[in-house]
Structure formats: structure tokens, C-alpha cells
Amino acid sequence: MDYTPSELMAVSGARELQDRQVVAVGVGLPMVASLLAKRTHAPNMAILFEIGVIDSEPIHTGVGLADPRVWYRAKYLSSFVDILGTLLHRGRVDVGFLGGLEVDRYGNLNTTLVGDPKGKFRHMVGSGGANDIASCARKTIYIMRHEERKLRETISFITSPGYIEGGESRAKAGLVGGPSRVITDKAIFGFHPVTKRMSILSVHPENTIEDVVATMGFEPHIPEQVPFTEPPRPDQLKLIREEIDPERMYIG
């Protein structure tokens, strides 16, 4: 295998994005995936960072959204209210692209705490714009490591709602959209259209369904046909390695 799992995750993420879409992204692999899409098949996609940045073209890797490296060559520098209010809350964001700490079978995302929220727990980062993006984007894509402690039967805290308790419960909470994909380093998941339970869409090359399921905290829906995930193309790898994340800060 001439690519890393993170590279495959980024390429798989990029593949979910279409030209002319408006995409709100967090830092890390979502940013790598979005920049890759924009430099390949989606040149007219708009990439939004909640801090108030549109369509920057970083040439140095930043440590996070607060790093001016990530704002370099932006076309528009504004505010939370502009990005998360007039674009996201107004309904103009096609795709929200998030990382996460824990996700459950209904795509509810936790970035707040691990442990027992009423007892002993460790507090982590909280929402930032994640709850807003998960609540207001037309659809949401998550990228995260494939580990039992991350893909959990029950998560400690719902920071950002997915399909809540499945079925119609998200719509009943007054929310449109919802998670469409969970991309891990072993597989790509979608959500069943009716039950809203997580469902395997593809497993990455050199992985098996058995291993994918055995390393998760809950059993996903498994369709009869599960293809392998398409591997990265050399031009995509070259872009990631030489231009988008040359310091390998996100691509381990």
C-alpha cells in the first residue's frame, strides 16, 4: 500500500464534495480533504472556516483555525456571524465537514467530554461551531479514527446532533439535514434512509467487514454488497504530500 490510512480518509472525504458546493470545515483532515477537492474536481467550491475566512490558500500548515497560516490568501475575512449566521444559519451551506471524539450509531457527535457527565469525566473541547454546523448544514460528513472508544454504542454527551434517536427524531427536533457519511481509517459509512442507523458503504482496501465491525462499539447495518473503497490516485497523493500538508501535520 503506497498511501497511509489518513491519506485515504482525506481522498475519500474529497470525493464526497462537488463543485460549486459551499462547505464549512473544521481544521485537520476535513481541511485537507476540502483543499484537495478544490484543487482537483471542485475548483468553484467555497471553503468556509467559522472564524470568518472564505477560500484561503494556505502555503504553510497551521496548528488550527486560529493560526494565520490558515487564513493566507483568503478572499473574504469576516466574522462568526457572517460565516455561521449569514451563510450557515441562513441555509447556504451544503456540506459541513467535522472531526469528532465519539460518534454513535445515529451519527450523534461528542466533542465535549468523556466519562460520566454526572460523575467522573474529562472535559475536552466542546462545540465551537460543530453543533451549529451539524444543526444547520444540508448534510454533514465526519472524519475520525476507527476505534471502539470512538465508534460507540452510547456516547457520553451529544455535542452535535446526528439523527438523535433515529427515525424521525431529528426532524421532530426541528432540524433538517443530518450526517451523510462517517469516514474512518477502515471504512466509509452512510445512514439507512428510514432507521437512520449507520450502515457500511465500503471498506478500505486490505480491510475486511469482520475487522471493521469487530473494532467498533456497535454493529452497523451491513448491506449484501460492500465494495472496497476506491484508493487514492497518484495526483491526489502528490497534492496532499507536496502542497496541502507537506509538514504531515494532519496526514500521519
Binding site: 481544521v27 472556516f49 467559522e50 472564524i51 470568518g52 475566512v53 504553510h60 497551521g62 496548528v63 488550527g64 483555525l65 486560529a66 493560526d67 494565520p68 497560516r69 487564513w71 493566507y72 483568503a74 475575512l77 469576516s78 466574522s79 462568526f80 456571524v81 455561521l84 449566521g85 450557515l88 444559519h89 466533542t111 465535549t112 457527565p117 469525566f121 474529562r122 472535559h123 475536552m124 473541547v125 466542546g126 462545540s127 465551537g128 461551531g129 460543530a130 453543533n131 451549529d132 444543526s135 444547520c136 454527551f157 451529544i158 455535542t159 452535535s160 446532533p161 438523535i164 427524531s169 431529528r170 427536533a173 426541528g174 432540524l175 501535520m249
Partner: protein
């Protein structure tokens, strides 16, 4: 009318127990010199708000100056978590009301516009909302949209007593430019009863009049102007200086135990008499020059 004053005098205008809004976002444009002076002067029992929790807030919490935090989550980006904030939440010594970025921004926006409440689509169906309703029930409510009859969550305006704004450039009256993305700074300043501006440089009003579209804070909102180069160190100020990675790593290391954090405060807050001595202690001109932003890159 000049509002120029010393950092110390500006800080002394804030009584213990006040609600302050801080300009930081993670590790950029944080009101660090301000926070060090608050700790030095022993101001306590503060309520702090900001959209995304940042190093300024974390240090204030670590020094025991904060009773209540109203924020949307936060971190020190890849340097680490807000360890002091998190410890305060975990042990229950800090009353944290945790929202999302937009819900805090909307609360400031409502405050800035004199709106009695503001509807929002976020938070629904989340444990954030469940927690907010338990802990701060009087700050969220539901209202029926009179036009569609849909039920909407509405938030109460957030109005700090004083906003502490780290900016690049202002004049002596307080008219201020903020370069780069502004996150919640504009709404926070306009919501707050008054603002203390801490600027890298104070320029003649004549220069402000040359590019009035750049002005983000009109002077009538400003009570004090403090000229304080490198006032955000070790965090960055766009187009002025980069974050000081070594010093942020040192801070993160210090937040790993109470003793280490006390030693950090003893060295960098109590052990120096003012911002000038602090800058000497962290490396002086040579170090600071190495952080100067490239004028093209902005960092």
C-alpha cells in the same frame, strides 16, 4: 479627547465580580497582558464570556479569578486543551455555561442590537441545550413563531460590563482597526457596556480618517486606550507577530499540575512588575523580533 492610559489603570476600572468579554480565539489576539495584570492586581469573581475559549480565559481561570464562564467550547488548537477551564469544569469549581460558537455570537449580536431575545436553530436535540436549561434556564426559552407557528429556541442577549479588545491599531480616542477575521470581536464590543482597547500602536486620528471603512470600533464605545506592543504574547496578532510556540508549549506543560501552574504564575505574572519586564523575561527584543510577521504572509 485622549483615553490613553496605563494598562494598570485600565484594569483597575474593572471591579471584582464584573462580567468581562475577552477578544481571544484559541491562541490568537488573546488579551494576555491584560489577564496578567488582572491576576497581579487580584481582581476576582469574574464572569468571562467569549465565543471560543482561548488562552486568555484559561489563564484567568487557572489563577482562580473566574467564577463563571459563558462560552462555546475551545482549545489551544494543536498545542492542547484549555486545561484550567477543563479542570474547573471537572471539579465543579467553575460554573461553565457551554454553548456553540454561533449561539454565543447570536447572544452578543442580540446584546449589540438591543434585541430582547434572538431565535436560533442550533443547540436543538443536543446535550448542550439540556445542560444550559439545567444550569442557566433563565437564559434560553421557547417562542412560537407568530408567522409559521413553528416553535423556536430563543436566547437572551449577552451584555458584558466591559469588553477587552486586543487590536492592531487605534487612535487615542479609541477608534480601532482589527485586521484579519474578526470572529466575535465586533458583536462583543457592540454588546458590551464599554470597551478597553489594547493596541499594538496608537496612531493619529488623521490616519483613521483616511480609511474609515477599516474602523471596527467607533470611539464612543471605548473607555480606555492602552498602547502595549506585544500585548497578546505568547498568542499571535495577525500582521503583527506570530504565536510563540515555545512559550505556549511551556504554558501547556505548566497546566499539568497545580504546583507547576503556580510556579508559572510566580515566574511570569507575580515575578515581573509589568508588561515590559515580562517581555524581557520571555526573551526580549531578540525573541520578539523573531516573531515579527512577514508583511506579505501576515504571520
Amino acid at each position: 479627547m485622549t483615553k490613553r492610559t496605563s494598562l494598570s489603570e485600565a484594569v483597575r476600572s474593572i471591579p471584582s465580580g464584573a462580567h468581562i468579554g475577552l477578544s481571544g480565539f484559541s491562541i490568537t489576539r488573546c488579551a494576555m497582558a491584560f489577564v496578567r495584570e488582572v491576576i497581579r492586581l487580584g481582581i476576582k469573581n469574574l464572569t468571562v464570556s467569549q465565543c471560543v475559549g482561548a488562552m486568555d480565559t484559561d489563564m484567568l481561570v487557572g489563577a482562580g479569578a473566574v467564577d463563571r464562564l459563558i462560552y462555546g467550547g475551545g482549545s489551544l488548537d494543536r498545542f492542547g486543551l484549555l486545561a484550567n477551564v477543563n479542570a474547573g469544569i471537572e471539579t465543579g469549581t467553575l460554573l461553565a455555561e457551554e454553548y456553540s460558537s454561533l449561539s454565543i455570537a447570536f447572544r452578543y449580536l442580540a446584546g449589540s442590537l438591543g434585541l430582547p431575545f434572538i431565535p436560533i436553530r442550533s443547540l436543538a436535540g443536543s446535550d448542550l441545550l439540556a445542560r444550559i436549561r439545567e444550569r442557566a434556564g433563565a437564559e434560553v426559552a421557547f417562542v412560537d413563531d407568530p408567522f409559521t407557528k413553528d416553535r423556536w429556541l430563543v436566547l437572551k442577549p449577552l451584555v458584558p460590563d466591559v469588553s477587552i479588545m486586543q487590536v492592531q491599531t487605534c487612535d487615542e480616542e479609541g477608534n480601532s482597526w482589527i485586521m484579519g477575521p474578526k470572529w466575535d470581536s465586533g458583536e462583543q464590543v457592540k454588546a458590551s457596556e464599554r470597551t478597553i482597547v489594547i493596541a499594538e500602536r496608537v496612531v493619529p486620528t488623521e490616519l483613521i480618517r483616511r480609511e474609515p471603512e477599516r474602523c471596527v470600533i467607533p470611539n464612543l464605545l471605548v473607555s480606555h486606550v492602552v498602547e502595549l506592543p506585544y500585548g497578546a504574547h505568547p498568542t499571535s496578532v495577525y500582521r503583527e507577530y506570530d504565536y510563540d510556540a515555545d512559550r505556549i508549549e511551556g504554558y501547556v506543560e505548566a497546566t499539568k499540575s497545580r504546583d507547576a501552574f503556580q510556579a508559572y504564575l510566580d515566574a511570569y505574572v507575580f515575578g515581573v512588575k509589568d508588561h515590559g519586564e515580562y517581555l524581557e523575561k520571555v526573551g526580549g527584543m531578540e525573541k520578539l523580533e523573531s516573531l515579527r510577521a512577514d508583511p506579505v504572509l501576515g504571520y
